[in-house]
């Protein structure tokens, strides 16, 4: 292989790097070593996704808030919480209340699992999509 062949190939690789936003390329093949490095500047947080993946990998499920409002663990201040750590939750079971615009909305679980963690304190505000409970599949 001659330099000019490599150069021609390099152009191809460089074009691909542009097309696919690749910033670094290293290649070794039969005595040839090629390293290409490009610009860039793009960063997109993926923490939420990563967490979700981790959760899946560990057989953990998360129940998130379907609306914005105030989180209540029990139907009334002097009553027992709907669920506590260690309880097994069934699909359709009410797990908490979220008060939104003065209306009490009962939140039901869509999944089955054992409660391993409650992430929000009673009477705290929650936003859309905020994790509320972590369940372990059983």
């Amino acid at each position: 292989m001659e330099l000019k062949d490599i150069r021609r190939e390099m152009a191809g690789f460089a074009k691909l790097m542009n097309t696919y936003d690749i910033s670094e390329l290293e290649l070794e093949l039969e005595g040839l070593t090629m390293k290409l490095k490009k610009q860039a500047g793009v960063s997109r947080p993926v923490i939420a996704e990563v967490e979700a993946k981790e959760a899946r990998e560990d057989n953990l499920l998360t129940i998130t808030a379907p609306m914005v409002g105030t989180f209540y663990r029990a139907p009334a201040p002097d009553e027992q919480p709907y669920i506590s750590v260690g309880d097994v939750v069934m699909p359709g079971q009410t797990v908490c209340i979220i008060e939104a615009m003065k209306i009490m909305n009962e939140i039901q679980s869509e999944v089955q699992g054992k409660v391993v963690e409650i992430l929000v304190d009673n009477a705290e505000p929650v936003e859309y999509g905020q994790p509320l409970f972590i369940l372990e599949t059983v």
């Binding site: 936003d21 610009q39 860039a40 500047g41 793009v42 960063s43 997109r44 947080p45 939420a48 609306m67 914005v68 409002g69 105030t70 939104a100 615009m101 003065k102 505000p125 929650v126 936003e127 859309y128 999509g129 905020q130």
Partner: protein
């Protein structure tokens, strides 16, 4: 801590206008609460605000239009006001009413004024009654084709068809002869239904070679009303504004004064308060006709700010707090000339198709008398769900010529990579002789101007 009665405001919007509202709040000592949809989680307004709440997934209907979640966020955050920005819920009187019933101040006019303005036929009737020339049109939405034909016979073609619930060029058509009238009406009704949920359209006389000129007003809750001069928004593409400027290069001083007076008269008749805009059509002979009124902050408000020195969003908070306006008509002094170019994530080479994506490189224009309102940052993601407006570049100059040359160099500096934008389209428009000579009218073919034979 704010001296005003408003101490904490929910910003029920996104992008550059959310950022604009947060900036004004910060300067007044008002705490701000950003609301965001899931794809907007890493957006600048969320980072800038004192608090932030996710209110739903990407599509506007589930987040920025989700009244329950927005009101809830205001309540759980202990906010005492909501600023709606423009678009989304900004001109929804029911939303204003719900805010009010929860003890939250809606930063804008009250329900009654908003309702009157929202019904365009009623607004025109009120304006006509208080002595303004109103653009001739059918008195309400048309019920059958006979009405339409009758109107066309009286005023002649072309005829403009407009959605009752319209805005932003949606549900709008021009019929050039009797043969296409029925079809245009059908099209406009279908588009109106798809965009606003109601198919009603009405007809208006269409003026060739007209200019769109609007007057910015401020009215406090004590009834003090001032006008901040006009904006010329005649450079449009498909009824969507591209470039706005203040003052208008085509008004003479007499018309300017008359238009300002008319705007204040109309606002009074409507019972308006807070910041608003009265839109007029100026025909080729210099006569002006009331078109409609906008009950909100407008995209193009910065050009008025730069020539008057008055912060319109701050004024909105002051008015909504129940304070009297801190300035009077004689304090309003228009100095120089300001031009705004709307920068959109769209590809002019491919029919202006929206171009969501990641901004991989960003250099914003800056330096003397160039203002940029944008929530862009290098690495940010532009989601596909919303309006394609991503930045507003505003240039001020002692003269219109100076402002044009400044805008040209600002657009030359503006670099966005990763997505296509209309920056170079705007650059060519600003550099055109037609713009320099203020010859572009609402119905000018700006695509032909920019692309020439190629288009």
């Amino acid at each position: 801590m704010s001296d005003l009665s408003i101490k904490k405001v929910v910003v029920a919007n996104r992008g550059e206008i959310a950022q604009r509202i947060i900036r004004a709040a910060k300067e007044l000592g008002i705490k701000s609460v950003a609301l965001y949809s899931e794809p907007d989680r890493d957006s600048l307004p969320v980072a800038m605000a004192d608090e932030a709440y996710c209110i739903g997934p990407g599509p506007g209907i589930h987040s920025y239009l989700n009244i329950a979640n927005i009101i809830s966020a205001a309540l759980v955050s202990g906010s005492d006001a909501i600023h709606p920005g423009y678009g989304f819920l900004a001109e929804n009187p029911y939303f204003a009413e719900i805010c009010s019933s929860h003890g939250i101040k809606f930063v804008g006019p009250n329900y009654d004024a908003m309702s009157r303005i929202g019904s365009k036929a009623l607004a025109k009737q009120i304006m006509a009654e208080c002595g303004l020339d109103v653009i001739p049109g059918t008195p309400s939405i048309i019920e059958d084709m006979d009405e339409a034909r009758e109107f066309a016979a009286k005023y002649g073609f072309p005829v403009m068809i407009k959605a009752q619930a319209g805005g932003g060029g949606k549900g709008m058509r021009i019929a050039y002869d009797i043969d296409e009238l029925a079809e245009c009406i059908k099209f406009a009704q279908a588009e109106a239904e798809a965009s606003f949920g109601v198919p009603g359209v009405y007809l208006e006389r269409y003026f060739k070679g007209a200019k769109h000129v609007e007057v910015q007003i401020l009215v406090d809750e004590q009834g003090n009303a001032i006008q901040l001069g006009e904006r010329d928004c005649s450079v449009q593409r498909g009824h969507q504004k591209l470039i706005e400027e203040s003052p208008s290069p085509v008004l003479d001083e007499d018309i300017r004064q008359a238009m300002g007076r008319a705007a204040l008269q109309g606002a009074k008749a409507i019972g308006y308060s807070n910041a608003g805009t009265v839109e007029f059509l100026v025909d080729s002979e210099g006569r002006f006709y009331f078109l409609e009124m906008n009950a909100r902050i407008q995209v193009e408000h910065p050009v008025t700010e730069l020539v008057t020195g008055i912060d319109i969003v701050k004024a909105q908070f002051i008015i909504a707090s129940g304070e009297p306006l801190p300035f009077r008509q004689e304090d309003v002094d228009v100095k120089g000339h300001a031009i705004e170019c709307r920068i959109c994530a769209e590809d002019p080479e491919r029919g202006f198709v929206p171009t969501p994506g990641v901004v991989s490189r960003l250099i914003l224009p800056g330096g003397p008398w160039v203002r940029v309102d944008t929530a862009l940052y290098q690495g940010c993601y532009i989601p596909p769900y919303y309006d394609s407006l991503i930045a507003k570049v505003v240039a001020w100059g002692n003269s219109r010529d100076e402002a044009i040359l400044r805008m040209a160099r600002a657009l030359d500096e503006f670099t966005i990579e990763g997505i296509s934008t209309n920056i170079s389209f705007q650059r060519r428009l600003i550099g055109s002789l037609a713009f320099r000579q203020a010859e572009i009218c609402c119905d000018s073919d700006v695509l032909a101007l920019v692309f020439g034979g190629r288009h």
